[in-house]
């Protein structure tokens, strides 16, 4: 990975939540929500971050923005380390790094109109009033909202419109990086398409970098340049988009790809269902964290934890069997969707 020129560089980021029993305040353990992840985003690049619910994607996003205090690690934004920065400087950084939140509804103050919500960052960074109005007008237009809609309250908009407003807010300060936390997961397909298109357009027009978080690989596919797959607090695979869809190396990626329903009744594919739920991040499985759910797990998987390694150039995976010795079942499964 390249050094100083990266827009965002995350090194070995960890975020543990202490778990205390509410009544006794006794430390029960730690949720290792993010357990040592590293990635980087170049200017104008989109990194898709996918993974099951609860694997730590949002936490990673928040920690990068210092909305949560990281347990350890480094986050470099344009050559400046964020995590150790003092509050005043942080404000300047935040101007360049904005977030679109997972739940567009709850992240907007229900008592403010859309315009006021978009105005908020402009006020914080003390833009003159007149310019504010102008800017809001432009932003609304940019994300495809009318002035009239701007005067409404969040609950008076549809989910898609709200999500657009959220994007407008994030764009208000002309940031260089947007962290989009599952911006479409809760939306209808039709609206989902609008948002993805919008974000792709903005990327092209404004040269934004994105960290695009999602749990659905089919969604990420349309916008990302590179994709990182997370499982239980760790990145298990990371590579160029095409590469990932063509030849996923980690069995988890494979099952993730497999789980996406294909809107064509003619294709009746054999499902490899993941058994069970995501294990508890308080007490992650030993060895490879995926091994209890992995159909190709071997003895070694239970004992030693695979490191993220560059299996083929630019393609990183954390599986003992990635690369040369991928197990049979896995490769079979991979070939399925490719046939169509």
């Amino acid at each position: 990975m390249s050094g100083g020129t990266a827009l965002l560089e995350v090194k070995n980021l960890k975020k543990y939540y202490p778990v205390k029993s509410k009544l006794s305040r006794k430390l029960l353990g730690q949720v290792k929500a993010v357990d040592g992840i590293s990635f980087s985003i170049q200017p104008g690049e989109v990194l898709g971050l996918v993974g099951e619910s609860g694997c730590g994607k949002s936490t990673a996003g928040c920690t990068v923005l210092r909305l949560e205090n990281a347990t350890s690690g480094e986050v470099w934004f344009e050559g400046q380390e964020i995590l150790s920065m003092d509050k005043r400087m942080l404000k300047d950084i935040r101007k360049n790094m904005q977030m679109v939140f997972q739940d567009s509804y709850s992240c907007m103050n229900p008592k403010m109109t859309i315009q006021e919500i978009i105005r908020e960052p402009l006020v914080i960074y003390k833009m003159p009033r007149r310019e504010q109005n102008e800017k809001i007008g432009r932003l609304l237009e940019l994300v495809g909202l009318t002035r009239e809609q701007g005067g409404r309250y969040p609950h008076e908009l549809s989910g898609g419109q709200r999500q657009r407003a959220g994007i407008a807010r994030a764009l208000a300060l002309e940031p260089k990086l947007i962290i989009a936390d599952e911006p479409v997961s809760a939306l209808d397909v039709s609206i989902q398409a609008q948002i993805i298109n919008l974000m792709a357009d903005l990327k092209k027009e404004l040269g934004l970098g994105y960290l695009f978080i999602a749990h659905d690989l089919s969604v990420v596919k349309h916008i990302s340049d590179r994709i990182a797959v997370m499982y239980l607090g760790k990145i298990v695979e990371q590579c160029e988009k095409k590469e990932l869809y063509a030849s996923p190396l980690h069995p988890y990626t494979v099952s993730l790809l497999n789980a996406v329903p294909i809107p064509d009744p003619e294709i009746k594919k054999e499902r490899i269902l993941l058994e069970g739920d995501l294990p508890s991040p308080i007490d992650p499985p030993s060895g490879c964290r995926f091994h209890p759910r992995c159909s190709g797990a071997k003895e070694c998987c239970r004992i030693s934890e695979p490191q993220l390694r560059e299996v083929t150039p630019g393609h990183f995976a954390a599986c003992h069997f990635a690369g040369g010795n991928v197990s049979e079942t896995v490769s079979e499964a991979v070939s399925e969707p490719g046939e169509v």
Binding site: V19, K20, S21, K22, L23, S24, R25, L28, V31
Partner: protein
């Protein structure tokens, strides 16, 4: 759970001591002391300063304030609430039976008020904006602007003018000192409903309003729909699923109710002549009978702290999310 309890108890103990200092300080604030009171009461030809000095010595009122405090709190810790100057007997002995009656009367009143309040609240929520709902809301706010003792007074007036012939109190005088018997119980019944009615009537409003709001909120929750979709009987849906959860805000309110057990009845008790702690407390304050007043206030504090603790525990019991929420 256990350690939480111990911790809370620890904090409560510290609060208790701080409160005791505060209480002692406030009781001591008015100029003069019990002796001043005793003298002011002894008619127009009063005792001499010499007697006053003697009395102060006897009661330890001539000591520095902090010393008086430590003597008092030391006693309290050992379970001795001190000595009432006015009644010339240990405070403990004095308030025992009054405390019992206080708790009985207000306890019953609160139970009734809460039962009625909850019932009306549930009714109002289920029949939102119906005539019944409006009527109850209106009456509720009326209740809010009439203090309970005024209600008691009006009640007594109505009773007397209709010839009921009971002017308050808990017993007719022939039964006051009589041993318990069926007649005495009957006599008690004839009297006790009056304060209970007055106190409960004026306590219904709050419960009713909270219950209504809470019920309306809960009734629109999806799990109520789930319960109905299961084919449960209507009353079962309402009671087991809706009320059970809607009661939650009332539980914290109930925590604050404990001190009200004593304080909620003070003025009503004066008007209705009840053998409860309130009037004694007022009397103790006025006469600067500080240990008696202090004991009363300490009791209130203990009830407040205990009430809050129990309410928190009850909240944990009633809503399992609170118990194990790791956030």
């Amino acid at each position: 759970m256990k350690s939480y309890f111990v911790r809370r108890l620890g904090v409560a103990v510290i609060t208790f001591f701080l409160a005791s200092i505060l209480i002692f300080f406030i009781i001591q604030l008015p100029p003069g002391d019990f002796v001043t009171y005793a003298i002011s009461q002894s008619g127009d030809s009063a005792g001499s300063a010499q007697v006053a000095e003697k009395m102060r010595q006897q009661y330890g009122l001539d000591r520095p304030v902090y010393e008086q405090y430590f003597r008092w709190i030391g006693g309290v810790v050992r379970g001795d609430l001190g000595y009432s100057f006015l009644y010339k007997k240990p405070v403990m002995e004095l308030i025992k039976s009054e405390f019992l009656w206080t708790v009985i009367i207000t306890g019953i009143s609160f139970v009734l008020a809460w039962a009625a309040g909850m019932f009306i609240g549930i009714y109002s929520a289920l029949h939102k904006y119906s005539i019944g709902d409006h009527v109850f809301t209106f009456l509720g706010f009326l209740g809010l602007s009439i203090p309970p003792f005024f209600l008691a007074l009006i009640l007594i007036y109505l009773l007397i003018s209709s010839g009921y012939g009971i002017a308050g109190g808990l017993f007719s005088s022939q039964f006051v000192n009589a041993p318990w018997s069926l007649e005495k119980v009957m006599d008690l019944m004839k009297h006790i409903w009056i304060p209970i009615a007055a106190i409960s009537l004026s306590n219904i409003t709050e419960v009713m309003r909270i219950m209504r709001g809470s019920m309306i909120e809960v009734m629109s929750q999806p799990y109520i729909m789930t319960a109905r979709a299961k084919g449960l009987k209507k009353h079962r849906v309402i009671i087991r699923h809706a009320v059970r959860i809607a009661m939650n805000p009332l539980i914290s309110l109930a925590g604050l109710l404990a001190p009200k057990l004593i304080s909620g009845i003070v003025v009503t008790a004066v008007v209705l002549n009840l053998p409860v702690m309130g009037p004694t407390f007022i009397q103790a304050l006025k006469s600067q009978d500080m240990y008696l007043a202090g004991a009363y206030l300490l009791l209130t504090v203990i009830l407040l702290l205990a009430g809050n603790l129990i309410a928190d525990l009850a909240l944990g019991w009633s809503d399992p999310r609170i118990r194990l929420d790791s956030k």
